[in-house]
Amino acid sequence: MPKTENSHYHHVRPEVIPLLASGELFTAAECQATRYAYAEAILELGKRNPDVVVLDADVSKSVRTTEFAKTFPDRSFNFGIAEQNMMAAAAGMATTGLIPFATTYAVFASMRALDQVRNSIHYPHLNVKIAASHGGITPGPDGPTHQGQEDLSILRSIAGSTVVAAADPPTTRLAVWAAAEYEGPVYLSFTRDPVPVIFDMDYPFEIGKAVTVRDGSDATIFAIRDMVSQSLVAAERLAAKGWHVRVVDCHTLKPLDTEAILQAAEETGAIVTAESNIILGGLGSAVAEVLVENHPVPMKRIGMRDSFAESGPYLEIVKKYGMSAEHIARAVEDVIARKHP
């Protein structure tokens, strides 16, 4: 397998590249839910940093933070099904210098315990990391009550928040470690369902710094969390038609990398955003705000429209609700067409 340094891909594992073009990414690539990558990362982090503690709300088996609990029983706290108590307790712990990772599902972290997350964690800017699995529609079979399709929008609207949703397992590990180094609250959104392992660990993960993972000049796709893989496949489909499409992994929704957005607007003149979050207030909205105020270009948003999804296999929901590589590719063709009316 040739090295990728001369290709138009960056930090993408060489064995993944042919699967992007053949359309076999979701069937042939190694896949893992990013919640498990979080569990592995936190275990390693626990060994390095004695201040790291893990709080759970009866999801430790689901997320596999059980490993952390086994290794560090003194630093693991299961709050039972009581997310509000867990979040405010995490805030109290953070006042003493501990670095709590409060672990639950996105719907509960961003909604049930939102009052605690806003008033007791963000308002005093305490050093709590909120680790939320089941982000977006990734708990496909569980259905809408467990699909955290608003978590990114909700957390983004809180003053001083930092919102991160990594695309795949390796970058999730990097995101967890970066969050621990960052002073202040960080919301981390993980996938419940498996996603392809796309990136190498040489990926330069920095909070607030979007990463161009595929070069292109005709349009740019800004994608977050599980939609990065769909976007890379979309770019290959468009390549077959002769379009050179840039793909940017916008893993940090906030603070948003406005520089990368404006550069893409200037250099490629057309932008599509892709998220499995609702399109109200998430990545699409954030990118649109930057473009409208600074450099309007043709743009389209891919994401959950104004509806709830349903139970079903994750990839089938992605297709049915208009967020698949094919949908993204069509949106890109549309914005490219609008560039040259």
């Binding site: 503690v53 003194d74 630093r75 706290f77 709050f79 039972g80 009581a82 509000q84 108590n85 867990m86 979040m87 405010a88 307790a89 995490a90 805030a91 109290g92 712990m93 953070a94 006042t95 003493t96 210098g97 501990l98 709590p100 009052d115 605690q116 008033n119 007791s120 308002y123 005093p124 800017h125």
Partner: protein
């Protein structure tokens, strides 16, 4: 008048409680907004904590080994601000800036703005959980501090209070003491009819807490209960302090309307007179 050294005697604490009640009235009257009723009901407990019971250092408000205090019913913060100012955490002149722009004294407690505030509060039902987190942390790091949380009786209608109650017992947190300011009133009226929380002692006992009941305005009982709480081992302690909302001010006592209303100048003068007369009675 010079302030007596800490720890204060019962008589000195009673005098300090009068001073703090007067500070509360003056602050809220000057601000023309605030919550006098619940500040006055908690005044004796807060006085006993800051001037006798708690291990704190106003010169070093972030000392890691200090006892922690959380006013979970954050709207009663005038009592906290008055105690902190009288204890020397900041200049008393700040009390006149309550709720004004650029003040260190926000309408609800803000740990990032006010020296001595250990936890931001305001949205009800958070403080006991935050205190629980501090207590877990103290145990993990083998630090000897005690965590004190004042919870409102109206606030106890929040479900999260009971989540915290369960958790504190699960972890046998004997370094955590809650004090229930049982004044029977909340914004809309009477706790006992709006959404009854009785039987309060039975509930906390059933949740696994050591429960004491005291007259929350009898300084001897207050001090004794707080000191006793530190000696209870193996479980968290709940001190149910029976109090009177608006305590010390004749026209505020047991009147729900004074939950969140400022006295006008004449009312404030009357209130100060009442408080001082009460003290001399």
């Amino acid at each position: 008048m010079t302030t007596a050294p800490v720890p204060m005697s019962i008589e000195e604490l009673k005098q300090m409680a009068v001073t703090i009640r007067c500070d509360i009235i003056e602050m809220i009257a000057t601000a023309k907004a605030g919550h006098p009723g619940g500040s006055l009901s908690a005044a004796d407990v807060v006085t006993a904590l800051y001037f006798r019971v708690m291990n704190v250092d106003p010169e070093n408000p972030n000392w890691p080994e200090r006892d922690r205090f959380i006013l979970s019913k954050g709207h009663a913060c005038p009592v906290w601000y008055a105690a902190l100012a009288e204890r020397g955490y900041f200049d008393k002149a700040h009390l006149g800036t309550l709720r004004k722009l650029d003040s260190i004294l926000q309408g609800h407690p803000d740990m990032k703005k006010t020296p001595g505030i250990d936890m931001t509060a305001g949205s009800l039902g958070h403080g006991l959980s935050a205190g629980l987190g501090m207590a877990l942390s103290g145990r993990l790091r083998k630090q000897d501090y005690h965590v004190w949380v004042i919870v409102g009786d109206g606030e106890s209608q929040e479900g999260s209070i009971w989540e915290a109650a369960m958790a504190a017992a699960k972890w046998d947190l004997d370094n955590l003491t809650a004090i229930l300011d049982r004044n029977h009133l909340q914004n809309d009226g009477c706790v006992d009819t709006e959404m009854p929380i009785d039987p309060v002692p039975d509930k906390w006992q059933a949740f696994g807490w050591h429960v004491m009941e005291i007259d929350g305005h009898d300084m001897e009982q207050v001090v004794e209960a707080l000191e006793k709480a530190k000696t209870i081992k193996g479980k968290p302690t709940m001190i149910i302090a029976h109090t009177i909302k608006g305590k010390g001010v004749s026209f505020m006592e047991n009147v729900a309307g004074w939950h969140g209303k400022a006295p006008c100048a004449e009312e404030a003068a009357q209130a100060l007179e009442d408080i001082r007369r009460c003290a001399n009675a």
